[in-house]
Symmetry: C2
């Protein structure tokens, strides 16, 4: 059970609505369920403070793949946020500098521009605030920012690219701009055109019957209470006891008792690709993760056909993964 | 100085020829130098034992980017043979499992299908023989092959892909086929259309004047004695004392005194991208590497305009880097 119930009060209401529309679904082929979901917009919200020009995106892409801003010289953002693995690492907990194993499962950066908070505990509000943390973290890239900047400055092409990306900045090679460029690039890592997106845009055949039944269960059971909006996350923090975890989560950030064992709702977009699950990556299988969520957050045992349908629906959230060649670094 | 001179006797001859054709070059615009070089063929020699079908190449690409066949779960072939970094790592010596630092500089896999020997010490003759070594090596991926195969077998898609790649093999998920697939993929990692290739095919403007002068110096000085053929390597072993190295090189393989401190001639294709240089990666700058080669192998001090021209010529060996999206792994 969840250590503290933090389900919004309207879950019960949503469940009732879900029941009502489920009943009607057979008549109108699920169409009214479209009101519960939002297709992924072409772009996440773009902050006025980080104007997203192509030069900035390109520089961010280079920095994302750049291993020499780590102490070992071989760990880049793309090591744990691996493009081959859904921009995560598909191991329970991140492995970083000198093989050290971190405390938490690597979250995907796909669609992260749509998140209202970053990291499992929300210790950063924005991608810009998030970007530099892993470079300096001792168990990740373990590189003091000043040294990282020195390495970058060795390459004329990087200096040129910073000038192109930040034309108003006379001395643009500094940590704030590294964060801005990385954030600008990450805002392009979106996964449109998943089956549910295509279905929301009107293509009735884009989801299978099982996926549509799973969608109904998802609404009925109240999963939508937290996994809502274009990225299927409310970006809020909810108390949960995941298998094997002793992590106090957001309590480390706020010191508030109510945040003990609270974690940010993870996106469900591409969830079939971003296993293993939960803050400690202890659950490898998607169906098992759904069972845990039912128990911990909803107080129900999900099983049988309904569980299978929910798994099918989760697969309907897999979109088009960004597809570009690895940048050539200097 | 080289600990043992291993220059072929015909270097002196080549130098004389070089002098003669250099003298004539002003009249015919370097054209006769075309006889000294070979453009990169579209494909390296393909062994009959490893039929190169598309399914095998695609499987090899997946395995090349697959970090879960390492003990940590985060090191793949592409970690050290990084596509962003000329399929090498651009650090002096390879960093592997738990941050251990290896003895030698990571060689590029670009054009490695053209090499007649693999590894700095030639302990593997072919790409097939080479492929499995780094997976098991304790300082690299540190993964017993049986465990690597168990991890692969967990994924239905891999099992399917092995069947597609090895249609004659009833039980195709085994180490030999991992090696065949990786080798097949690596034989596609070639870099055609460099300036010298385009010049060899007849485009007089493909190389700059400095590059052409550097080409003349390259022939005159006898560099071609070892850096010959389509990949600019004879795939032979030559004794050399590189700065800071105590590595006995090929002696470890053969136990023959004559092989003490002998290393395979590295390819010069894309040499501008594959810094730092030599078996221990101790020399970061291309011009300095050329100076060392002059001293150690040719007994000359290369400097001034000639050195600048040789550097320019090395840049003429940079080809088109393979350009494909990172594969999606299961």
């Amino acid at each position: 059970m969840a250590r503290k119930t933090s389900r919004p009060a309207w879950i019960a209401g949503a469940a009732l609505i879900g029941f009502a529309v489920a009943f009607a679904a057979q008549a109108d082929e699920y169409a009214q369920y479209r009101d519960f979901f939002e297709p992924l917009p072409a772009m996440p919200p773009l902050p006025a403070e980080n104007s997203m020009n192509q030069a900035r995106i390109d520089l961010g892409r280079m920095l994302f793949f750049e291993p020499r801003i780590s102490a070992s010289g071989v760990i880049s953002c793309a090591t744990c946020h691996n493009p081959a693995l859904g921009y995560t690492d598909r191991i329970p907990r991140a492995v970083g500098h000198d093989g050290q194993i971190g405390e938490r499962n690597t979250p995907t950066v796909l669609n992260s521009g749509f998140f209202g908070a970053q990291f499992w505990d929300g210790r950063a509000a924005t991608l810009e605030e998030q970007a530099l943390g892993p470079i300096e973290a001792e168990v990740e890239m373990a590189m003091p920012l000043e040294q990282a900047l020195e390495r970058i400055t060795e390459f004329d092409i990087y200096v040129e690219r910073f000038h192109a990306a930040f034309p108003g900045d006379d001395d643009p090679v500094h940590a704030d701009n590294v964060a801005l460029a990385l954030a600008a690039f990450q805002r392009t890592l979106n996964t449109p055109n998943s089956p549910i997106d295509r279905w929301l845009f009107g293509d009735d055949g884009a989801m299978t019957e099982a996926q549509k039944r799973g969608m109904v269960a998802f609404v009925e059971r109240g999963c939508l209470a937290c996994h809502a909006g274009p990225a299927f996350t409310d970006s809020q923090f909810h108390n949960i006891q995941t298998p094997g975890s002793t992590d106090v989560g957001r309590f480390l950030v706020t010191g508030e008792e109510q945040d003990r064992h609270a974690f940010k709702t993870p996106t469900l977009r591409n969830v079939a690709l971003t296993y293993p699950y939960f803050n400690n990556g202890e659950v490898a299988a998607l169906d098992q993760a759904i069972v845990v969520m039912g128990r911990e957050m909803l107080g129900v045992e999900l099983e049988g056909q309904e569980l299978e349908d929910l798994v099918a629906f989760m697969h309907a959230l897999t979109g088009e993964i960004p597809d570009f060649p690895v940048p050539a670094l200097p």
